[in-house]
């Protein structure tokens, strides 16, 4: 299972853009990722242990939030996960 990391997360993962993280479910793969690189936890998870609202996790092209089993969705060897912080903003006009 490969997890692709966006630019802002790479400093916490030895500058890697992709990490091998085994797991039978998305939650297990994410746990493997943060076990390998504990400094990622603070960016991805809030203090209550939930994924931060601005952090999107994609299983292939599917937003994990919209999968029936969400973080407990099963993974296959050919699947990839992508972590993608949101982009938004606007003027104070």
């Amino acid at each position: 299972m490969k997890i692709y990391l966006p630019t802002p997360l790479r400093p916490y993962a030895d500058k890697r853009s992709v990490v091998d993280a085994p797991g039978a479910t998305i939650a297990e793969a994410m746990r493997s990722l943060t076990n390998q690189y504990p400094d990622l936890k603070g960016y991805i998870y809030s203090d209550d242990g939930n994924v931060r609202g601005f952090v999107n996790i994609y299983l292939n092209d599917e937003d994990v939030r919209y999968l029936p089993a969400k973080m407990n969705s099963p993974l296959h060897d050919s699947d990839t996960l992508t972590i993608m912080p949101s982009i938004a903003g606007g003027s104070n006009r």
């Binding site: 692709y4 966006p6 630019t7 802002p8 400093p11 853009s17 603070g42 960016y43 601005f54 952090v55 999107n56 994609y58 092209d61 937003d63 992508t82 993608m84 912080p85 949101s86 982009i87 938004a88 903003g89 606007g90 003027s91 104070n92 006009r93």
Partner: protein
């Protein structure tokens, strides 16, 4: 510093004019080189804000995924983003900072005055986390050489 070819620079400004009076938005892909973000391509994105799109923008996640994939296929990275401020200066806002999460990336803003592009400014998201993040001013170098 943000280094961007003239064609890309003019293109993202034109995007702001085309979307006026709504905010435009997009992704900058390129490479990091000697501490500078060097843009090779800009990707126009859809502003998914349906309310107050004249003062808010949001890039759909699926378009971010596509941009990330495109960058990866060309051995490049997402190095920044751009958007416009219709009838407002290109100064980052409190909302821009609150919604910024891509550390060490450029956030380029073009002020669009009555439909015409005005100044374009760039800011780098600095800091270590959500509590300490800030925008620092970033110089823009527009590259005019062929093959830049």
């Amino acid at each position: 510093m943000l280094k961007i070819p003239r064609e890309q620079f003019d293109g993202l400004r034109a995007h702001g004019e085309a979307e006026y009076p709504q905010e435009c938005c997009g992704v900058l892909i390129g490479k990091l080189s000697d501490g500078s973000r060097v843009v090779k391509e800009f990707i126009r994105c859809r502003n998914s804000q349906t309310l107050m799109a004249d003062r808010r923008y949001s890039i759909p996640a699926e378009e971010l995924i596509a941009a990330q994939r495109r960058a990866r296929e060309q051995d490049m990275d997402i190095v920044g983003f751009y958007h416009s401020h219709p009838d407002h200066p290109p100064q980052w806002s409190s909302h821009d900072l609150e919604e910024a999460h891509w550390f060490a990336c450029s956030y380029v803003i073009t002020g669009i005055e009555k439909g015409r592009a005005g100044d374009t400014k760039s800011y780098v998201l600095c800091g270590n986390d959500e509590e300490t993040k800030r925008f620092d001013n970033e110089e823009i170098e527009v590259l005019t050489e062929v093959g830049a």
